[in-house]
């Protein structure tokens, strides 16, 4: 990770020099004359950012509006008929009458429950998957054993299996195990590893200097101790990165939980959202409620990302496809 960060910085320095050269400026980068091409490029960038970010603002604006006002005035840039009713509805804090009066379907929804289910699934999957993948990655990079490369190429082969192909048979397996409509059923296929996580972590574990490891071994540490007390701490950066990516991926998954979950018992946020959308009230969709629910589903990942943005952003690409 340190290496990645350094090379990014180096590239940044080089890039700045190149950019200033491109506009024909000498000296400091702040005194660069503004060329028409550059202005045009920034305009394009701003348009792209607007397209990227506008939907998020529109979720917030709609969630804070009331349905009645939305039907009268759908275009005001700010919230119309401001209120927290949509959130109250989403968290099951309105009575059925209240909900229907405000344009909800009146069906029982409780996003606290779905939120809890999503947190449980994403957390358990991330912890188990990353830990088991790290163990395997350690065996594939730092242990010496016969057949290592052959077994590793089997794992690489599984990178090529598209998700769709495993979904149906996995559903049948989970059904045979009696785990339909349970959180464990949703988590099970992701608990053990993903080939990507193993591949990703193996690269970093392989880069730990041999001398460091040998010093520990000479001091009498076992290889198991080396893994826990040396290898894991030294790759804490990549482990954090892959954990965040796994967490976000697991949180956002829809197809698999849709197959496995049938009741509130195991309903995660994505499935609950789809369900909420399907329960359109007679009067028309409960847009305020839907957008409030959407915000509840999206916000935790946005906050998580904000906390680790630098790490995640600079790791994409360097590891994403190699």
């Amino acid at each position: 990770m340190a290496q990645t960060a350094r090379s990014t910085q180096a590239a940044q320095g080089v890039g700045a020099a190149r950019a200033s050269g491109a506009t024909g400026a000498r000296g400091g980068r702040r005194r660069r004359p503004v060329s028409p091409g550059r202005v045009l490029a920034w305009v394009a960038m701003v348009v792209i950012l607007l397209v990227t970010l506008f939907p998020f603002y529109w979720i917030l604006r709609t969630a804070l509006s009331s349905n009645a006002a939305l039907y009268v005035d759908p275009t005001s840039p700010g919230p119309v008929g401001f209120g927290w009713g949509a959130f109250a509805r989403v968290f099951g804090m309105q009575s059925v009458e209240e909900a229907i009066a405000e344009g909800g379907s009146g069906a029982s929804i409780d996003f606290w429950l779905y939120l809890r289910n999503s947190v449980v699934v994403a957390t358990v999957v991330t912890v188990c998957q990353v830990f088991f993948s790290a163990m395997a990655a350690y065996a594939f990079s730092r242990l010496r054993w016969r057949g290592r490369d052959a077994v590793f190429s089997l794992f690489l082969l599984s990178l090529m299996v598209p998700t769709i192909f495993t979904l149906l048979p996995n559903f049948l397996l989970v059904r045979q195990l009696g785990l339909i409509d349970t959180l464990l059923g949703i988590m099970l296929p992701g608990l053990f590893m993903t080939p990507f996580a193993i591949f990703f972590l193996r690269q970093f574990l392989a880069n730990i200097p041999t001398e460091v490891e040998e010093a520990a071994l000479i001091d009498g540490a076992s290889k198991v101790r080396v893994f826990f007390n040396l290898a894991l701490p030294m790759t804490v950066g990549p482990i954090a990165t892959i954990s965040i990516l796994t967490y976000i991926g697991s949180w956002n998954d829809y197809f698999w939980p849709l197959m496995v979950s049938y009741t509130d018992e195991s309903r995660v946020l994505t499935v609950a959202l789809g369900n909420f959308n399907a329960q359109t009230p007679q009067t028309g969709p409960d847009w305020a409620g839907l957008m409030a629910a959407t915000l509840v589903a999206a916000l935790p990942m946005l906050v998580l990302f904000m906390a680790f943005a630098r790490r995640v952003v600079s790791s994409i690409g360097f590891s994403g496809i190699k």
């Binding site: 940044q12 890039g15 020099a17 190149r18 950019a19 490029a41 960038m45 950012l49 397209v51 990227t52 970010l53 939907p55 998020f56 529109w58 759908p74 275009t75 088991f132 163990m135 395997a136 065996a139 594939f140 990079s141 242990l143 010496r144 077994v151 599984s158 299996v161 598209p162 769709i164 192909f165 495993t166 149906l168 048979p169 049948l172 397996l173 296929p189 053990f192 590893m193 080939p195 392989a206 041999t210 290889k223 198991v224 893994f227 956002n252 829809y254 197959m259 994505t270 959202l273 789809g274 957008m291 959407t294 589903a297 999206a298 990942m301 990302f305 904000m306 952003v313 994409i316 690409g317």
Partner: protein, 301 residues
Amino acid sequence: MTTTAPPTGARRRRRDDTRLALAFIAPATLGLLVFYFWPLLRGVWLSFTSWDVLTPARFVGVENYVEMIGDPVFWNAVRVTALYVVINIGVQTVVALLIAVLMQRLSRSILLRSLILTPYLVSNVVAALVFLWILDFQLGIGNNALEWLGLDRIGFFTSETWVIPTIALVNVWRHMGYTALLIFAGLLTIPPTMYEAARVDGASEVRSFFSITMPLLRPILGLVLIVSVIGSFQVFDTVAVTTNGGPVDASRVLQLYIYEKAFAQFDFGYASALSVALLLMLMVVTFLQYRITRAGQTDLS
């Protein structure tokens, strides 16, 4: 795939770690066998059976495949999926390349890159619902904006002509930032000296883009394309949430058809045959792409 493991060299350790290694790879191997290889075999086997889950599976040979070849809904699904992939990948690649080059030229700020990545952090379901609202025929801000511009309102999710382009563009919105960052990382691998040399020779920005950036980016662009095409073929979430295949069959993509066959009609044999067909299509497309883009080779040297 280069092996970065430390070279063993002549100095071999006395002890090998076979037992420890087996313990360390045990959980991952269990996952590999039970949730990757076993379903692969089982899926292929099921495609040769007739099975409604309740009664035991019955071997029917290639019956499912024969039925599939004569199934107009299947061929429609293939057509719809292909149209989706072409629009989705075409627009996404161009936009992502534009964003990546803009970032290369303008700024490398982490903030900018984070903002660009934001849509990728929300689920397909969230993206689908937001655009269902923004593009709603009566109340959506998108359609109201069209009216201000003096254009007709469009039933983005309700007209047969618009539904696939709309869904394709919704997914472009979610994935373009991520794709741009992948391409951007590729741009960082191009030695800056090449651009300086070109400038000394008097080449314009556009000229540099086509004679330096594009040829040197080709291997990475090829890989990005392969990964995104595989993902694109597996479109499901957005369709399931917004249109459920409608209007009529206009957005009934392959994955949705597979899902319906299995979970609405309990025809797991036929659904498995459809998955095999999708898998074969993916393999052919990936192979062709690999050959055409020569993704594995580099021109950097």
